[in-house]
């Protein structure tokens, strides 16, 4: 048996290292290490509760709005405030803009460039893919960056700027949209739709949203021009539907009133109860303790702890590791295409990518509907009073999965603030029972080391990891 350390994994958000134990060139065990510690939970302690809105977005530059939304939801919970209808629509729009921009960035800038590597030079699809997706220099980047920047102009109207906005408040949004701006928002969405339909899908978004089985998907893609069909061709050639499977246990906090919360395993969806979440610190460089619910969680550094290998805690639901992300969100929501993919082949590199891109096709039309539902002239922000003593929970979905904030307020200050980020779930280390995290499981059996194809790169990036959130 040999051991290798792989890293840095670039084209992920933040820092990641994976230690692998190999037997005859195959992975027998994987240990996922987040080698950066940030300590935001301590930064929040002692601050005025609403300061969380200025602090938490700075946990993450790629999902800053999701962090803001989780904090605003937790604060609203503590205050007993409900956002106004316009405020809720504005928040949906801001969150969806970030999520969809993230899906686009992930596919074009982070994930696809791996297929342009010289390792695949003998594949028939390689010349076209290398021309289009080579990092920085490919033809896709030159088109995608302006499309992304133009799409993010929605944030200029709705949130002032992105990343790091303070527009999202417990009662809604600081930014009332005028009648004229409502028209601009719709025009920007149509511009982005046009890019997706021309370049990514080669078909109408509504048609992508209707694809309901693997067979339908492959028949639709056959011979079609577009970057998504091009990916499906590669996926078929490399067998990406058979690699990267974790435990096929999925969890979602639910999003936008479109995708319900729940957990899923072995064909069954079960209602989600936040009380069943715990975090284990056995293998993290943090003080070991009984697994705790985040409402009573602690984050105390123990940098010299033996047997620890990461700064990441191990979140568990009912004691089990769970995968989160677009695939989890869609499976829990009963999406027929993703359920079919998972029930045939399990959660895989291909299923995770398909889930993300189908979400793009589902969400952009929903966003067009939300813009039209805005009522200029009506309130965008409900007001409320912050209690001196209280607690709140904020459960939202970032692009890459379930994000939870738990806060306690004492004497008008934040007494405790605990965060579980999506990649904390997906890239969790082992826990006290030696149960592996989803990525650690997904890498087992794959070829690695000298001369191996870049398969593990695809698996790692298929989760769209955000390491800076992981080690908040």
């Amino acid at each position: 048996m040999s051991r290798i350390v792989v890293g840095p994994f670039n084209r992920v958000e933040g820092d990641l290292e994976v230690s692998l134990e190999l037997e005859a060139g195959r992975i027998q065990a994987a240990y996922v290490n987040s080698p950066l510690f940030r300590g935001f939970e301590q930064i929040l302690v002692g601050r005025a509760p609403l300061d969380a809105l200025a602090i938490v977005p700075r946990i993450c530059g790629i999902c800053s709005v999701a962090q803001s939304a989780a904090a605003a939801t937790a604060l609203a919970d503590a205050m007993g405030v409900t956002p106004t209808p316009n405020g809720l629509l504005a928040r949906h729009l801001i969150q969806a803009t970030e999520n969809m921009a993230d899906h686009l960035t992930h596919f074009y800038l982070f994930f696809m460039p791996d297929f342009a590597r010289p390792d695949y030079v003998d594949r028939p699809w390689h010349p076209a893919i290398a021309e289009r997706f080579t990092a920085i220099k490919g033809s896709a980047a030159a088109e995608v960056l302006p499309a992304r920047a133009s799409f993010l102009r929605l944030m200029g109207f709705l949130a002032g700027r992105w990343p790091h906005t303070l527009a999202i408040q417990p009662g809604g949004s600081t930014r009332a949209i005028t009648a004229g701006e409502r028209i601009r928002l719709l025009a920007l969405l149509r511009e982005f739709r046009s890019f997706l339909e021309r370049r990514l899908f080669g078909d109408a978004l509504e048609r992508i949203g209707q694809l309901a089985s693997k067979a339908e998907l492959l028949a639709w893609a056959d011979g079609r021009a577009g970057d998504f069909p091009a990916f499906l061709k590669i996926a078929g050639d490399l067998g990406l539907e058979r690699i990267g499977r974790a435990d096929d246990r999925f969890l979602s906090h639910g999003a936008y009133g479109l995708f319900p919360a729940g957990t899923w395993q072995q064909g069954k969806t079960v209602a989600f109860a936040a009380a069943r979440i715990t975090e284990d610190t056995e293998r993290a460089w943090l003080l070991a303790d009984q697994p705790r619910h985040p409402a009573t969680g602690e984050t105390i550094v123990a940098a010299d702890k033996a047997d620890a290998y990461t700064w990441c805690k191990a979140p568990r639901y009912a004691g089990q590791a769970h995968e989160v992300g677009a695939l989890a969100r869609q499976v829990v929501a009963g999406n027929p295409l993703l359920l079919d993919l998972v029930q045939r082949d399990g959660g895989s590199v291909m299923a995770r990518v398909v889930a993300r891109l189908q979400e793009l096709a589902l969400l952009i039309p929903a966003m067009e509907g939300w813009v039209q539902a805005l009522q200029p002239g009506e309130s965008f922000c409900a007001q409320g009073v912050m209690p001196d003593e209280g607690s709140g929970v904020g459960l939202v979905e970032a692009a890459r999965g379930s994000l939870g904030h738990w806060l306690t307020i004492r004497r008008g200050r934040i007494e405790r603030y605990q965060i579980i980020a999506p990649t904390t779930w997906n890239f969790s280390p082992r826990d006290a029972t030696n149960q592996e995290g989803p990525l650690e499981k997904a890498l087992l059996g794959l070829a690695a080391g000298e001369g191996a194809p870049p398969t593990i790169q695809h698996v790692v990036r298929s989760f769209d990891p955000c390491m800076v959130c992981t080690v908040h």
Binding site: P8, F9, N10, R11, E13, G14, D15, E17, N33, P35, L36, F37, R38, G39, Q42, I43, G46, A48, L53, A54, I55, R58, C60, G61, I62, R117, T134, I136, K137, A141, A142, L145, P146, A149, R153, M155, G156, F157, L158, A159, G160, R161, W162, P163, H164, T165, L166, A167, Q169, G171, S173, A176, T178, A303, P376, G377, S379, C381, Q457, V468
Partner: protein, 333 residues
């Protein structure tokens, strides 16, 4: 011009912001200015061992490069070991990598307020992360590289401060360097490029009429000036946020929320709640830059008494209820 980029104790948001560069594709604009990335952690093809080989070649002086861009605070803890951030796949502290690379770079850019001054990482009570900026510990010169540091090009660290940075601040700094170089006279006292830090956020603020009449917002989403009650520091913060748009047409003020002075060292711990203005005897403590207090108080009292009803009433709602009057032309035409 070759640019090497590293990330450490930060959120990656400055890179995400950089990708919003408009109107041209960032990569096209940089390429045509003769600027290329030797390596960038979020964008480059090379991963793992290939990436480490590039970094080692740069650090040892074998591979020449021009600009070292660092994004994120320097985490020197625990106990000076730098173990709060070790380079993945390599196990050496990022602080060591940055020190070595800064010794080879012609110019060193601190991308974002974390890198410049320490950021939120340096603001945990007691600073257990031992976080600092490249050449500052908050307001105090020093940091990882020391107050006396000069890169081979003869400049201190260029602090492209902001949380996040505007894409234009980075792209224009790089292009200026490629075109004609940079001198000490291009930077302010805190190492920030004057082309953006020579302005105040207040300049071009869309709420200027409310400011003129001290017609203040009272609650979140109100249209009025955010200085008196809601914590806005736009009249003191150095940046051109309201002269160049963010994301097409935005800015913090255009988004309806207070400027928290994210380009200034120490903005993370203002000593009061971010969204509230601290006052003594009803007068905000933080007055506009260069404004004598007595004059401010006198002018504020005068302008408040002169406030048109339209401005006063619009200040405390989230959409315009009173339109400006249309003047009737005289002369009976």
């Amino acid at each position: 011009m070759k640019v090497l980029w590293l990330q450490s104790g930060g959120c990656g948001g400055c890179t995400q912001s950089l990708l919003c560069s408009e109107p041209r594709s960032l990569f096209d604009e940089l390429r045509d200015a003769g600027i290329e990335f030797v390596w960038h952690p979020a964008l480059s093809q090379a991963s793992g061992g290939e990436a480490l080989a590039v970094l080692e070649a740069c650090a040892s002086g074998e591979l020449a490069f021009d600009v070292l861009c660092v994004e994120g605070a320097m985490l020197r803890g625990p106990n000076g070991s730098g173990r709060f951030h070790l380079m993945a796949g390599n196990g050496r502290p990022l602080t060591e990598w940055v020190t070595r690379l800064a010794g080879q770079a012609k110019w060193v850019f601190a991308i974002g307020s974390c890198t410049a001054y320490g950021g939120f990482s340096a603001n945990t009570p007691g600073n257990p992360l031992e976080a600092c900026g490249l050449q500052y510990d908050e307001q105090t010169p020093g940091g990882l590289l020391g107050a006396g540091f000069r890169s081979a090009g003869g400049l201190p660290v260029v602090n492209i401060a902001g949380c996040p940075t505007h894409p234009g601040w980075i792209v224009e700094s790089l292009q200026k360097l490629a075109l004609e170089g940079m001198a000490d006279t291009d930077l302010d006292e805190l190492g920030r490029p004057l082309f953006y830090a020579g302005e105040l956020v207040h300049h071009g603020c869309p709420r200027n009429e409310y400011y003129e009449f001290k017609a203040s917002a009272e609650k979140q989403s109100d249209l009025g000036c955010l200085m008196e009650n809601l914590g806005c520091k736009g009249t003191q913060a150095h940046a051109d946020c309201n002269l160049r748009a963010w994301n097409g047409s935005g800015s913090c003020l255009r988004g309806g929320f207070a400027c928290i002075a994210c380009t200034e060292p120490g903005f993370e711990s203002p000593g009061h709640a971010f969204q509230e203005t601290p006052k003594v005897a009803g007068i905000p403590i933080g007055l506009p830059s260069d404004m004598p207090k007595a004059w401010f108080v006198a002018l504020a009292a005068l302008s408040k008494s002169a406030t048109p009803k339209r401005v006063r009433d619009n200040a405390v709602v989230d959409h315009l209820v009173f339109r400006p009057a249309i003047k009737k032309k005289g002369g009976g035409k």
